[in-house]
Symmetry: C2
Subunit: 217 residues, 2 copies
């Protein structure tokens, strides 16, 4: 039995569609009335675990799921021992540094040393500020990071930006991009080494679908 970890939320629909091409039907997880967190595929060969974004690399790292689909942002933030197999291309967004639009800051280097920066992605933020050698105080928040600058708690935020609507509505602007994020297919390293072909055939089917989607996009 192959177990696949799928992230609830924005990536779910495309994730289900990629596995469908590999013959694994997890469409039940898209039914709004579905309450099950473990969903078998009708073929009986596999099941899906429906978990939060941040938990996908955990289930794959511990081998409870052999494969998973998760955003590069989460993968980088969690830094778990998993193998990245494919860039699936969907779920595109940017990890950006943003400030109040009237702050006058044009780039990261303009921020005052030891200022506060709020983020849900404090590991990504830490790496970024270490690389540009700017000491800052990181404040970890779990949601609505845009409130950081609005309340005066933080000079800047590091957050995922998809459309930019939330920033704009809150009088914030992006001044630097840390990296671009897309969905990735990840795997449990040991399961991949011991694979008798089942995992490889799924990965190859997902890859074909990916090449097709990206070229037709």
């Amino acid at each position: 039995m192959i177990t696949v970890a799928l992230a609830k939320g924005a990536l779910l629909k495309d994730s289900v569609s990629r596995f469908a091409n590999a013959g694994l039907d997890f469409s039940q997880v898209l039914d709004p009335s579905n309450r099950q967190l473990m969903v078998p595929s009708p073929c009986g060969r596999a099941r899906a675990l429906l978990v939060r974004n941040g938990d996908v690399p955990v289930y794959v790292a511990y081998g409870q799921a052999q494969l998973g689909i998760v955003g590069y942002d989460v993968l980088k933030e969690k830094n778990m021992p998993v193998a990245t197999l494919l860039d699936l291309g969907f779920g595109g967004c940017h990890m950006n540094l943003a400030v109040k639009s009237n702050s006058g800051y044009k780039q990261a280097g303009d921020l005052p040393p030891h200022c506060r920066v709020a983020s849900k992605f404090t590991n990504c933020a830490k790496t970024f500020f270490e690389e540009i050698d700017l000491p800052v105080e990181l404040v970890h928040l779990t949601g609505s990071v845009e409130l950081g600058p609005l309340t005066g708690m933080a000079e800047a935020i590091i957050d995922l930006v998809a459309t930019g609507r939330t920033l704009k509505e809150n009088g914030l602007i992006s001044i630097e991009e840390l990296f671009k994020s897309t969905a990735r297919l990840i795997g449990h390293p040991l399961s991949l080494r011991l694979d008798n072909g089942d995992l490889r055939s799924i990965v190859e089917s997902v890859q074909k679908q990916t090449v097709f989607s990206n070229s037709s996009a």
Copy 2:
């Protein structure tokens, strides 16, 4: 201007009602169509920040909110430098150790040393296992912790239990209680020391309401 941090979710309705008794009307945050995260009270004296549970102690610790209402579970997990002012009595739930009902484990001491325990509250879990001198490997999850034992990733979980329905639906049982949690009124220590009476009068009004609610319950 007094700023109050309110937690989205189960505690919100009662939190709004406690501040209403102190003359601060934040009922706008209960409107399902409300998208604002900073909500002024009509009296003009105060505003509410609508944030996630885990972020309430952060805004209060940094002084961006002078007061806040949050569950004891979050307060203990985050361990931020805030003053606990009142036990408000509502939002009661238990932080429990739970295992598969067919596991045979009757108490924490039955767990095999170095087994895995999954939790959203890994700081609380760490303290608990250190106190009973049982070395375990804690796995931090951000949601659906009950999947830990179901997938075989963890032998046990430490999680908040309100009605026990989720545990039961997933074939799990509580075997030990770490602590009981209720909502707490917290304050920013420096703001309380510099208070000219405004904060004290709010705290006293909330306290009267609390005594009344608890005695009539």
